[in-house]
Symmetry: C2
Amino acid sequence: MSARSGSQAGSRAAPEADACALSNDLGWALGVVFRCYLKASQDALADLPGGPRGFQVLAAAARDQHGSQLALAHRLGVDRTVMTYLLDDLEAAGLIERRPDPADRRARRILATARGCEALADAGQRLRAAEEQVLSCLDGEEDRGRFRSLLRRLALHASVADPVRGACDTAAEAIGTDPAGGPVLPC
Amino acid sequence: MSARSGSQAGSRAAPEADACALSNDLGWALGVVFRCYLKASQDALADLPGGPRGFQVLAAAARDQHGSQLALAHRLGVDRTVMTYLLDDLEAAGLIERRPDPADRRARRILATARGCEALADAGQRLRAAEEQVLSCLDGEEDRGRFRSLLRRLALHASVADPVRGACDTAAEAIGTDPAGGPVLPC
DNA sequence: TATTGTTATACTCTATAACTATA
DNA sequence: TATAGTTATAGAGTATAACAATA
């Protein structure tokens, strides 16, 4: 505790000593929070095919009906081969449907079924509860909202900045919209 | 559904989808930011054995000299078998040393070598630059600091709440300390 | 020729199990 | 018997490559 003895601290890599504390490492903190969220959301969505990722696919499918498989994959930043497996599982569970696109017979339009929309609403509630649990140590709506807002800005920025990874369309589009209230969607 | 609003954004995706918009999904945002950070830090630390994770190990080794391999693994929340591989690489590069613990001949004490400390300082600079780049879209020190602080609180909380995953010792210890000035360590 | 979607394959990361040497 | 560390192996997740159908 009298580690302050580092007053001269000259012995080694000194000046930013506390800068190397684990909790000040952005990577460590991000990793911990990310894994924590992952675990919480996996527990919350254990029954949903594909887990948290399946949820995102289902949500995206319900949001923008008529999107192709590839567009969906780009939006979520997953490989198109992974999307095939995810959709296989969701379709087997009767939550989404693949329909041939009359305009381009190579493509399939992804639609959420009525059952899928139900499952989505149900899973969404559980997911929100899990999120609140993860954020529970931030007191009050104020800090939680602030964190969400800052994180959102970072994510949108990152998506736009990384054209390779996809999702940039969505991000670019969303970046110009109202963060908070926003209009409601056809889900 | 989305077709009806084609009025202004004639080209493509539905402009009004917002409440269930991707960017409001905490999991999506966390994933994007996490992967973005991962990529940035991997690029920045490409020459360091083990990449970002190797950096954390090296930093931890330099911080608390004399820690055992297992203690180190717990601290960082990685499996002890993974720690073996990481340390193999770091030792092969001459950045850390494994010394038999005179008090317990089963254990090895992990020490950062002088060269390891140099590499750590050097890599730390590059990592900080990468972090700033990731956070660059938050204007000013104020927002960046706020985000770091909120994230740090979440991470410490998550670490403590998850005794299985380890790292709780560090977290519990750090949680009682001053976030900013903090205790200084022997790095 | 280029693109959508599928399949098979390979690779990376991580976790599990078995082993040793100590305690 | 239990623990620290190592090694080998198996598993999840992801990416790569090749293919069929279509543009």
